[in-house]
Amino acid sequence: MSTPFYVSPQQQMADRAEYARKGIARGRSLVVLQFADGIVFVGENPSRALHKFSEIYDRIGFAAAGKYNEYENLRIGGVRYADLRGYTYDRDDVTARGLANVYAQTLGTIFSSAGEKPYEVELVVAEVGETREGDQLYRLPHDGSIVDEHGSVAVGGNAEQISSYLDQRHQDGMTLAEALKLAVQALSRDTNGTEREIPAERLEVAVLDRTRPQKRKFKRIGGRQLARLLGAEGDGGEEDSASEDAE
């Protein structure tokens, strides 16, 4: 039997972080931004069935980049957490902040426990409020930290570049079509600065729309509605929100 090499804790953490970051970078990035009537999730996703965005609870949505089976596991855990909490207390007692905390604790414990491999995921938990000021956006990197974001957030391998692009251009009170187009522009820029075209059928789009009459505010946007929103050139105006529920 040989004696194991000594690895300093700093080195160990740095290695684990690098491992997780590399895993996350293999997938495509995605963005979440606020618009006038809520929060929109936009990402490139060739799959129709394996979603990157989903509903957690009435006003809470979930977005994830990285390894599918790992974030799917966290997503279902979050749905279970939210449903159980809403059942034992009240629906209003389920909040994005609470959920983000639980995710942070979970990711943090996994990241620092020597027996487990770190999760190669980066999450966004978003909650749409009654007004724009009430919206909440939390970014949760692989190591269990929480970042409280405003306006726009990008996660995934290329996130830094995309966020800085968004930070410069995102404005308060954009319409859904404007926010969507900005998101697509941000996602179409490659690391080396060249632009590529992302066709509408490779886009996954969902919104948390505070104007929806139902108590569940999460809604996927696809097909004709997505094409219409993307097609509306600059002039905007008529496609104010997702209110025309055309599938």
Binding site: H51, V79, L84, G108
Partner: protein, 281 residues
Amino acid sequence: MEANTRSTGRLPAAFLTPGSSSFMDFLSEHQPEILPGNRQLPPTQGVIEAPHGTTIVAVTFPGGVVLAGDRRATMGNVIAQRDIEKVFPADEYSAVGIAGTAGLAVEMVKLFQLELEHFEKVEGAQLSLEGKANRLSTMIRSNLGMAMQGLAVVPLFAGYDTGRDSGRIFSYDVTGGRSEETNFAATGSGSIFARGAMKKLFRDDLTEEEATTLVVQALYDAADDDSATGGPDVARRIYPIVTVITEDGFRRLTDEESSEIARSILARRLEQPDGPRASLL
């Protein structure tokens, strides 16, 4: 217990274990004590007094189904509540109306709604109408112990079947036995009278408006002969709850709409107390 959601720590292992898409299955593994069916009952003598809900009716029409209920809850011979709600949306395309012990029934509906929503979120698809009806069956069966002590819950489940493009109605007995009803159904103490009314008034080419009027007529007849069923309360502006489920999803009639139906029926009954007559042959 390590297994609670009150702590803000890491999600317990049960939350991250791949498994069933059913919320009830998750609860029964993780926190079985909060499932209504697992409650330990002390031995009791006689029947426990608790508010009871009474009459629920449903009728299909081409393209949908109507589910409606009166507003009265009784405890023995006393009216416990005049404006109770006994008809609830189960999800976008189905609704459930409950007769029996009100407290347990409302809890069952809450869990049933959650069960359907949970499945939908986890799977990314809705359960089939048949699947929903079976799930409700399981829940009633788990209440059998309490039903034996007089705390029975007997729901009526109605929904729009997107596969068949039609409304369907399912009725239940206290043991969870489920049967699909054709055309119309009723449950609760006033149901025999409501069923008689519906039998005479039903046609298979009803419009949505006619179907909503029909159920209010039936509830009126139930209230007429059953003291536990409440009729439209014009003085307090309490009217039956009427819900319609079609291709467009669940819709509950507004108070104005249901009051209009109830008032027009009341006006007719002032002239003809026994209501519309069917022809003899």
